[in-house]
Structure formats: C-alpha cells, structure tokens
C-alpha cells in the first residue's frame, strides 16, 4: 500500500496540528482537534510495531512459562503454564495476536502472584525474570510523546 499508511497518518497529523487546529474556534475545539491529531500520531507509532511487539512478547512469555513451570508448586497452574508454553499464535493479524497476548498476560499475573509466595533461590530467580519481562513489556509499548 503506497504511500505508506504511516506516511499518510504523519501528514494528517501535521495538517491537523499545523493548519487546521490553529484556525479553529473556540479554543476548546482547537484543543480537541489537537488531541485527535495526537491520538492519530500515537496510532501511527503503534501500527508500525503492532504485530512485531505482540509476536515478540508472546514468544517471551511462552519461554518464561516453559522455564518457570518446574518451579511452580500448584499442579493446575503448572499444567496451564505447560499448555501455554507450547501454544502458538493463530495468525499474524493483530486482533488474534492481541487475544493471545491478553490470555498469556493474564496467566503471567497468576504465575507472578504464585511465585511471590514460594521460598528459595529458584523462585527468586523466576520472580526476577518476570520483572525483567514486565520491564521489557513497557518498553515495547513505549510512546514517544509520553511524559515518562
């Protein structure tokens, strides 16, 4: 698709912020258009990486589950982790990847809460790995205009 959709969105954002919003009245409507432009700008940023970051994160979570399952004491949770670890993304469409990602992230919450209750260096190591993945997940989602 040419011109690239991201280029089209970028030009649209520029027009909204640079030409259309400044010409609008009253000021709150101009501000609204500016916000819409910022929303499009963030969407443009996300479109570029949408599939890649989900594929990467789903793979990272499956690896984490595979490595963490032996540490887990709860049989039911261990089984769910094992199944998730060998699962696959149904397609590369973003809604499919997103649905899988949400299921994996929900399972991660369960794993994290469980591991926090376990003693021993293996549990601490797994807990550390979970925190590293959580930190990585925020970087994958990071937005250029965000304040922090």
């Amino acid at each position: 698709m040419k011109p690239d959709p991201s280029l089209v969105l970028e030009r649209t954002v520029q027009a909204l912020l640079g030409e259309i919003a400044p010409a609008m009245t009253p000021p709150y409507r101009a501000a609204s258009v500016s916000v819409q432009a910022m929303l499009l700008g963030v969407a443009r940023e996300e479109i570029d990486r949408a599939a890649a970051r989900r594929v990467e994160e789903n793979a990272a979570l499956r690896k984490l589950f595979a490595e963490g399952a032996p540490v887990v004491r709860d049989a039911g949770l261990r089984e769910r982790l094992g199944s998730a670890a060998v699962s696959a993304d149904p397609s590369l469409r973003v809604p499919d990847l997103d649905a899988t990602n949400q299921a994996l992230r929900a399972l991660l919450i369960g794993l994290h809460a469980h591991v926090e209750t376990l003693p021993g260096p293996e549990a601490r190591a797994l807990e550390g790995a979970i925190w590293r993945e959580l930190a990585a997940s925020t970087e994958r989602r990071r937005i250029a205009i965000a304040p922090f």
């Binding site: 916000v35 959580l134 925020t138």
Partner: protein, 367 residues
C-alpha cells in the same frame, strides 16, 4: 483531569450532540440557566445569561464560562461565572457535592479557591447536575505555559507555592472546615485500605486488558502496609501541575478540580503530586517545577508533618495504582462509546504506559 493539559484539558468535547445545531443548543442552555438563577438572586430583575462557551476544565465535568447580568436596586450587575456540569461519562466518577463542599470550605482560607455559588443535583434544570462558581480570568494553568521562556524563571517560585499550599491543605482541620460529613471519615490506620480497595475495584470493573504490573504493585502494597496516617486530612486527590491557576508573578491564585477530594492520609496528596508521570519537562523535576527532595521539604515545613521515606514510597506506589485506575476507566468510557472525548483514548494509551514505567522505577525494576 487537567494535568496533561495539551490533551486532557480538551475535556469531553466530542460527545454526540444529536441533530440540534450548536448555537441553538447554547442559546437554549443560556435561557434555562438564566431561569434557574433568577429566583436565586434576591431582588434581581432582568436576569440574563450570555456568552456561554465551553472551556478547558478537566475531563470529569463539562466546564463553560458565561456572563450573568441582572438589575438590582437600579444598578446593572455583571458577573463572570463558571458552569461545571456533569457529563454522561468521564475519566473519573466523582461526587459534585464533595467538590462543591471543598470549594466552599477552603474559600477565604490560605488555600486559594474560586467562590462556589450554587449547587444543583437534579438533572431537571440543565439535563445534568451542575454547580456554578466564580470565574478567575487572565490566569494560566497548562504545563506547556510553564515551559515557555516567560514562565521558566517562575518555576521555582511556583513550585514553592505549590507545595506550600498542599502542606496547608494537609495541615487544615477537616472538622473545622465542616468537611466531616460531606466527606466520609476513616480511621488513621485504615486510610490506605479504603483507598487501595477503591482503586482495585475500579481496575476490576474497568480494565480492558490484564495489568500485570499494577496487579503486582497491589500485592506489594498489601504485603507492605504503611504506618497509620499522622493525621486525618483533606486529600485533594488530584493536586498536580495543571490543576491550579497561576499568574505572571509566579503566584498560585486558585486550586481547582476537587472532584476526587476525600478524607485520608495527607501523604496521598504529596505522593500523587510528585508522581513521575507529571514530569512533562523530562528534567526529572517533580511536577516539572522542583527537585523531588525540595518539594518534600517544602511540604513538610508547611504541613508540620513528616514524609517518612518508607511511608511515602507506599503512597507513591499507590499513586501508580490510582493513576492506572483513572487511565483504564477513561479507556473503557472511550471504548464503550459512553464518551467520545479523544483524551480518554489517548490517556489510556500514553499515560497507562507511563504509569507502568513509573511503578517499575519506584520499585527499582525499570530496565
């Protein structure tokens, strides 16, 4: 929510309005507002409302300015006022009675606020509950303004005033202010539980996707409860750059947006104000104004209270849970179509991610 002024202050403006033209809608609202106010102005006649115009005023209420004119005792009177009207959906579900009571309580004290005039909780007069307060014109509120050359030199003074006023809010006696009643009291050792339970419930009800970082923070908070509050204070609950009006001399002229105010631990306010997500200038300054340690020192001096580091850390992490609660509930409003304000979608994306990063930073887990 006005701290993210560039987008948040756009506030609730993209709502569906049906087929009624904007000018007719405004005219009708002006007429109905005048009809409402006329019997509340003793001795007044020829009551008129004009110039009703939406302005930036936060995403939790529709804010408009208007001019009220009437005759009294042979004289023509003109007042510039603000209408704060409940929207169908917003970033936060708030109690206008509490907000109105807070404005009333602090008016005339060392905590500057506009005068609140009339509260109407029935939707009959203007379709939604609302209140009216005085307009303070010619002042600034946005963080972008703070970052312009004219205001950069004023930031230390504004920061000093900001955390001094917050300290004065913390020092104030809620009983003497008449706010115990409009706001529910809570035991000193239960402040944290009430607030944490509230925001955890918001997340349970509104999150559109799993929040593993926020859920981990909640578990941490429960495992590491803070000490009891040093005193029961009025907590503004959204005290940050963007929610006060300042002038060109670096004075804060009004603290706004009291819609989440409640009684609780005063550290809650301090922690919220220094949350990293308000560092719009990206200089590491609390609220883009002052170094964090300086802000805390000023607050301690003004409040007469101590911000013990471990207790403050608890409330800082709590702020991340609360922040995420606000962002996800706004995201749900946007996604459901209850509120088309684009700021809700933008804050759900952008501030949600920043909030997670802030939590990780506070826990020493940021990559």
């Amino acid at each position: 929510m006005r701290g993210t002024e560039a987008f948040v202050s756009a506030g609730n403006m993209a709502r569906r309005r049906g087929s009624v033209p904007e000018c007719a809608r405004v005219s009708d609202l002006e007429r109905r507002l005048a009809a409402y106010l006329a019997p509340r102005l003793p001795g007044a006649s020829a009551v008129e409302v004009s110039g009703l115009e939406r302005i930036h005023g936060g995403a939790s209420r529709e804010t408009s300015r208007f001019v009220l004119r009437f005759e009294r005792g042979g004289e023509r009177v003109e007042r510039r006022l603000i209408l704060r009207r409940d929207p169908p959906g917003s970033l936060i579900e708030t109690d206008r009675r509490v907000e109105f009571a807070a404005y009333r309580a602090f008016h005339g004290t060392t905590v500057p606020v506009p005068e609140a005039l009339w509260l109407e909780e029935s939707p009959a007069p203007l379709d939604h509950p609302f209140f009216v307060m005085e307009e303070l014109s010619g002042l600034e509120s946005s963080f972008q303004t703070l970052l312009t050359p004219a205001f950069l030199p004023l930031r230390p003074r504004l920061g000093h005033r900001k955390w001094t006023i917050l300290g004065e809010i913390a020092r104030a006696d809620p009983e003497k202010l008449g706010l115990v009643g409009p706001m529910s009291p809570v035991a000193l050792d239960a402040c944290w539980q009430r607030e944490l339970a509230h925001w955890e419930r918001v997340l349970d009800e509104d999150e559109l996707e799993p929040q593993p970082i926020t859920r981990a923070v909640i578990r941490w908070l429960r495992r590491n409860p803070p000490p009891p509050a040093q005193k029961l204070s009025v907590v503004h609950a959204d005290y940050r750059t963007g929610n006060f009006l300042f002038d060109r001399e670096g004075e804060i002229r009004a603290v706004l947006d009291w819609e989440m105010a409640h009684l609780g631990d005063p550290l809650e306010d301090l922690a919220w104000g220094i949350n990293p997500v308000w560092q719009w200038s990206r200089e590491g300054l609390a609220g883009s104004l002052l170094p964090k340690v300086e802000a805390i020192r000023i607050w301690e001096a003004a409040s007469g209270l101590r911000a013990e580091p471990a207790a403050l850390l608890w409330w800082e992490l709590f702020s991340c849970v609360k922040g995420q609660g606000i962002w996800v509930s706004g995201g749900r409003e946007y996604a459901s179509g209850a509120n088309h304000d684009p700021v809700l979608g933008l804050s759900s994306w952008m501030m949600g991610n920043s909030q997670d990063r802030a939590a990780l930073a506070l826990l020493g887990k940021l990559a």
